[in-house]
């Protein structure tokens, strides 16, 4: 490595602050654009901004290679899992299931990372587009809320509560993805009817998605959770964080077992 790049790497921490002026400029642009009746930009700017706090939280902690690897594997598996189902129904994907299970086992932050990384990586193969940030947001949030919902609770990991949670995310995911067009509809017409109409046209896909989630969680939820739980212990990762946060964690896991 040349001395030049060493020098550059020392000034690295400051580089990320370049985000702040860019974010402000984009917010201003999006606001002006909205005033002129064009809502395309505001949605995507807000979604990208909402990703930042999660990223910062994730970056702040020191991570072992094993933790990163575990998250990367989950994201890759979620991506690949789209393949055998591509020939089935459109919208019938196990990605949400994989993300939710990762959130449940590895906790909220890791769940968010798995969701966001799955969206980013699967779109590298299926095609990036303006929907990528929205999918990152939606799946990331699915993983995050799954962690909050059931990571520390034994009974909520059960088939029934988790499948209800999965059904809810089947709908929420589609609704989040529809925000761009619904927002556009609202700016266009200022009528709730048109917005609701937009959401109703997407309903069949949401139902398929929700059914897929419920199906996967009912049939494979417990076995996948057990499998990942075993690997989490084997890797010895993503546990340390929780013990730092809460000393009571170990007792809770023993209750879960």
């Amino acid at each position: 490595m040349s001395g030049k790049s060493r020098r550059r790497s020392r000034s690295l921490p400051s580089v990320k602050w370049i985000i702040v002026p860019i974010a402000i400029a984009y917010l201003a642009l999006a606001y002006l654009s909205l005033q002129r009746g064009n809502s395309l930009l505001i949605g995507i700017v807000l979604v990208l901004l909402s990703i930042i706090p999660f990223l910062l939280r994730f970056e702040r902690r020191e991570r072992k290679a094993r933790e990163l690897m575990l998250i990367a594997v989950m994201a890759a598996v979620a991506t690949v899992s789209r393949i055998p189902f591509a020939t089935l129904l459109p919208g019938f994907t196990p990605v949400t299931f994989v993300v939710i299970v990762s959130g449940v086992v590895f906790g909220a932050e890791a769940g968010w990372m798995v969701g966001a990384a799955s969206a980013l990586v699967s779109n590298l193969f299926l095609g990036q587009g303006p929907w990528t940030p929205w999918q990152m947001f939606a799946w990331g949030l699915a993983g995050y809320t799954a962690g909050l919902f059931a990571h520390r609770s034994g009974w909520r990991r059960g088939r029934l509560p988790l499948s209800l949670f999965g059904a809810a995310w089947g709908f929420l995911f589609g609704w989040i993805m529809n925000v761009t067009l619904a927002l556009d509809q609202w700016v266009q017409t200022h009528s709730w009817e048109a917005v609701v109409g937009k959401y109703v046209t997407g309903l069949p896909f949401e139902i398929i998605h929700a059914v897929a989630n419920v199906f996967f969680i009912l049939t494979f939820g417990p076995s996948w959770i057990a499998l990942l739980e075993r690997y989490r212990r084997k890797y010895g990762t993503l546990e340390r964080l929780e013990t730092l946060e809460e000393g009571t964690y170990d007792e809770q896991t023993s209750v879960v077992q």
């Binding site: 064009n38 290679a65 094993r66 890759a76 598996v77 990372m113 990586v121 193969f125 049939t219």
Partner: protein, 297 residues
């Protein structure tokens, strides 16, 4: 050879800026003619980069998407003065149709432009760019990406082998197929987790986390990068100036305005197209240089 040639040889920062700006402007401008010109420019870039192969692969899904937008918009939105006809009780207005077309153009424009992103922004460049902002997340994304082809091969292998014992997604009822599919993924997961552990330990052994990470390729910010960056910034400044003065978008609601481009719209259009085509200048220059040095013409 392709990496050091033309558009692709530019610095990741320049390419990143180019795409961020191109997409932003594609969303800011809302005039069917300007968007049509932008789409044409995006197609030209596609053709220059890989003969339009990747773009053709995407043309069918893109077509379906824009047809959906064009059809659904007038049905949902009834705003506008000029009613074309009544679909049962629903008034279909000219304004709403034009709005739908413009929105579809805007989507098509951004999507076509995005196709070239995959051709120029390689994974190495992406990693180079994002390790500065978010090192761990960028590393995870790249590791997951590297895993995908391997997992795909394994998946194929698993599907083949499991088929001999009747576990397949190709036959049976839907519920059965879905069950089999998830079983395959479960097997894949435990297989992969097992050897990912070794990869992680190998990373640890080679000193992951002992210092800031370096990048395998060291990109230099060359003269051509300065030139391109300057040109892009100049075009953006001009575009934002005219846009700020109220040009570059068409009045659709409540009554359809004129399609004609005013002077300001013309300047915005020129700046936009200039911005989009600027990096192709290097493509042309390098092609010429190649011909002159190799064939003497």
């Amino acid at each position: 050879m392709k990496e050091g040639f033309g558009f692709r040889s530019l610095h990741p920062i320049v390419i990143g800026t180019y795409y961020a700006g191109g997409i932003t402007f594609g969303m800011l401008l809302f005039h069917p003619l300007i968007l049509l010109a932008g789409w044409a420019a995006a197609v030209i870039i596609n053709v220059h980069l890989d003969g339009g192969r990747e773009w053709r692969k995407w043309s069918l899904p893109m077509l379906i998407g824009i047809v959906l937008i064009v059809v659904v918009n007038p049905i949902l939105s009834h705003r506008g003065r000029t009613v074309l006809y009544y679909l049962g009780d629903i008034p279909i207005t000219l304004e709403s149709v034009i709005y739908g077309v413009t929105l579809a153009m805007s989507m098509l424009n951004v999507l076509t432009f995005f196709v070239t992103y995959r051709l120029t922004m390689t994974e190495q460049k992406f990693l180079y760019l994002f390790t500065r902002i978010s090192p761990k997340a960028a590393l995870i994304a790249m590791m997951a990406m590297g895993l995908v082809p391997r997992l795909r091969r394994r998946m194929q292998e698993l599907m083949l082998i499991q088929r001999t014992r009747g576990v397949t997604v190709l036959e049976g009822t839907i519920a059965q197929r879905a069950r089999n599919g998830a079983r395959l993924i479960g097997t894949l997961l435990s297989w992969t987790l097992e050897d990912a552990l070794q990869t992680a330990d190998s990373m640890q052994a080679r000193g992951y986390g002992t210092g800031t990470r370096s990048s395998y390729l060291d990109y230099r910010f060359r003269m051509r990068d300065w030139g391109t960056m300057g040109g892009l910034l100049a075009c953006s400044a001009l575009l934002l100036l005219t846009w700020g003065n109220g040009h570059g978008f068409m009045v659709i609601y409540p009554r359809l305005g004129s399609f004609a481009l005013s002077l300001g719209d013309g300047v915005a259009l020129a700046a936009y197209i200039g911005y989009l085509l600027l990096p192709l200048g290097w493509e042309w220059r390098d092609r010429r240089a190649w011909l002159i040095t190799n064939y003497g013409r």
